[in-house]
Amino acid sequence: MIDNLNEIALDELKNSISNMNYRKYRLVTMSCVDNKDGSFDLFYHFDKESKLVTVKTKVTKEDEIPSITDLYFCAFLVENEIKELFGLNIVDIAIDYGGKMYLTADSSEAPMTYGANITIERRDIGYDK
C-alpha cells in the first residue's frame, strides 16, 4: 500500500538512483526487511515537495550491493547500519565502519535478521542477589 512504488532489479539500481538524483529528489532513508526466505527487500525512500517516492529491490546475502554514497553522501550512516544489522554486502561506502558501527566484536552477528540467535531470558544481575 505504499504510494509511488517502483520495483526494479538489482542491476538497474544504480541507474534508477542516479535518475532520482538527476530529478532532484531528496533521499529520506533506506529500509531493509527480512522476508524470512533468504531474500531481503531493500527500499530507497525519496522525497520531493513532501511527496514520497520509493524504489524497491530484492537482494540476497550473497549479492554485491553497490553503495549510493557517491550520489547521496548522506546514505553512509544507513548503509553502514544495514550492512551491520542485516549482514548484507554493501560495497564502496564513503565512510565505512567495517561492519562495526553499533556493535562490538563480541556481539551477535547480524542481529536483525530472522532467526538470529537472540535469547530472551532472565539474566543474572546484581539486583536479585
Binding site: 500500500m1 505504499i2 531528496r26 532513508t29 525512500h45 514520497l52 553522501f73 548522506c74 544507513v78
Partner: protein, 364 residues
C-alpha cells in the same frame, strides 16, 4: 605565515562523555592547529535494538517501546506509529482525538525547543540564559503532568485515538499558559537575536548552503534554517489541515538562522495551540479497533527536530513483521559532518548542538 602543509595534524576525541552533551556521541576530530579538517562520527553508545524488540511484542505494547526511543519527542513517535497503523487498517479517528493529538504534539514541540534553546545557550557558556529557558519549560511540563500524569513520557496515544481526554478547564489553562509563554519568550528572544556575545558565537558559524542542505538530506529546523521550506505538517496529518499556519524558514543557513527558526516556531506553536483549542469539537476521543494490520505502509510526521519516518509491515496478526524508524537526527548527522571541517575547535559544541542532536533517537 606558516604553510598549512607544515602544520602537524593531531587527533582529538570528542565525547562520549562530555560536559556539553547530555548524551554520548563520539566524534573523532583531525585538527590542524585549532582548525578541524576532518570529523568522523562514531556512534553506538546508545544502540539498544528496539526495532527487533517490536517484532517480539504485540502492536499495542510496541507503542510503549517506541515511545522510549526518545524521551523528548516520545509523543511524536507514538503519533507516527499509530497514524501509520490507522492508515493501514483504514480506521477513522474521531475528530476530537485529532485535535488532542495536535495539542499534545505542539506542547511537545514547545518543550523540546525550549530545552534546546537552553542547551544551546549552555554550549556557548551563557548559563543564566539556560536557566531562563528551562524555567519557561517547566510550565509545559506542569501541563503534561496535569493532563497525563507524567512529566516526560506521557503515553497518551493509542491506535484509534488517544487514551485520555482534556477537560475544558484544563484547555482554558493551556490557553492562558500560551500567553504567559509568549510573554516570557519576548523577554529572552531579544538576547538570542540582538545580544552581542550571542551573535559573535552564532552568526556566520556553520553555514550550510541550501543546495548542500538538500543534497545531504537535512530536515527540520536544520534544513529550514538553510532556506528549505519543508514542513510535513503541511501534508495535513491529524488536524493540521484545519489550522492556519505557514512553514517557517530562514535563508542564512548559519547557527543564528537555525536558532531563529526555532524561536519563531515557538511563537507559531502557541498560535497553533490556541487555534486548536478554539476549534476543538466535542465527542468521542477513541474508537475500538477490531482489524488486524496486513500489508505495508510508510508514515511521516514532523517532529521538533524534523521529519520522522516509520515503515511498518504487518502480516495479519497482532505482531508486526517489521517496524523501521528513521529519526530526524539520523538525517542531520551527515549535514553536521559536512559542516564541521574548517571551523575552530571552540565552535564545535555550538555546531553540534545547532542540529539539535538526539542520539538515542539516532541509534534506537
Amino acid at each position: 605565515m606558516i604553510n598549512s602543509e607544515q602544520v602537524p595534524r593531531s587527533t582529538v576525541p570528542f565525547g562520549p562523555q562530555h560536559p556539553v552533551l547530555p548524551e554520548p556521541i563520539h566524534i573523532k576530530l583531525i585538527l590542524e592547529d585549532e582548525k578541524i579538517v576532518e570529523a568522523i562520527p562514531a556512534i553506538g553508545y546508545v544502540h539498544r535494538g528496539l526495532e527487533k524488540l517490536t517484532e517480539k511484542k504485540d502492536m499495542y505494547k510496541s507503542i510503549f517501546i517506541l515511545e522510549r526511543i526518545c524521551g523528548i519527542c516520545s509523543f511524536m513517535h507514538a503519533l507516527c506509529y499509530c497514524q501509520g497503523l490507522e492508515n493501514l487498517m483504514e480506521i477513522d479517528v474521531p475528530e476530537r482525538a485529532k485535535y488532542l493529538r495536535v495539542i499534545w504534539g505542539e506542547l511537545h514541540r514547545t518543550h523540546s525547543h525550549l530545552l534546546w534553546l537552553g542547551l544551546f545557550a549552555d554550549a556557548f557558556g551563557f548559563e543564566s540564559l539556560f536557566y531562563e529557558c528551562w524555567k519557561i519549560r517547566e510550565k509545559i511540563l506542569d501541563i503534561m503532568e496535569a493532563t497525563s500524569g507524567a512529566r516526560v513520557i506521557i503515553s497518551t496515544n493509542t491506535i484509534g485515538g488517544t487514551r485520555r481526554d482534556i477537560n475544558s478547564d484544563m484547555l482554558e489553562h493551556i490557553k492562558k499558559t500560551t500567553y504567559e509563554i509568549e510573554e516570557a519568550l519576548a523577554y529572552i528572544d531579544k538576547v538570542f537575536f540582538d545580544d552581542n556575545t550571542v551573535l559573535v558565537r552564532t552568526k556566520g558559524v556553520g553555514v550550510l548552503s541550501k543546495k548542500d542542505a538538500y543534497l545531504l538530506g537535512a530536515v527540520g529546523p536544520t534544513g529550514r534554517g538553510s532556506g528549505l521550506p519543508q514542513d510535513l505538517r503541511t501534508t495535513n496529518y491529524a488536524a493540521y489541515g484545519d489550522l492556519d499556519f505557514e512553514p517557517i524558514y530562514e535563508t542564512d543557513g548559519d547557527c543564528y538562522a537555525r536558532c531563529k527558526v526555532r524561536i519563531r516556531e515557538l511563537y507559531q506553536s502557541q498560535k497553533l495551540l490556541r487555534q486548536a483549542i478554539d476549534q476543538m469539537p466535542e465527542g468521542e476521543y477513541a474508537v475500538k479497533v477490531t482489524q488486524k494490520p496486513e500489508g505495508e505502509v510508510v508514515s511521516r510526521v514532523e517532529q521538533p527536530r524534523g521529519e520522522c519516518m516509520y515503515y511498518i509491515r504487518g502480516n495479519g496478526t497482532d505482531i508486526l513483521e517489521r517496524v523501521r524508524v528513521r529519526t530526524p537526527t539520523f538525517a542531520n548527522i551527515p549535514a553536521l559532518v559536512h559542516m564541521l571541517p574548517g571551523h575552530q575547535l571552540c565552535d564545535l559544541p555550538v555546531l553540534v548542538l545547532s542540529i539539535d542532536p538526539c542520539i538515542s533517537c539516532t541509534e534506537r
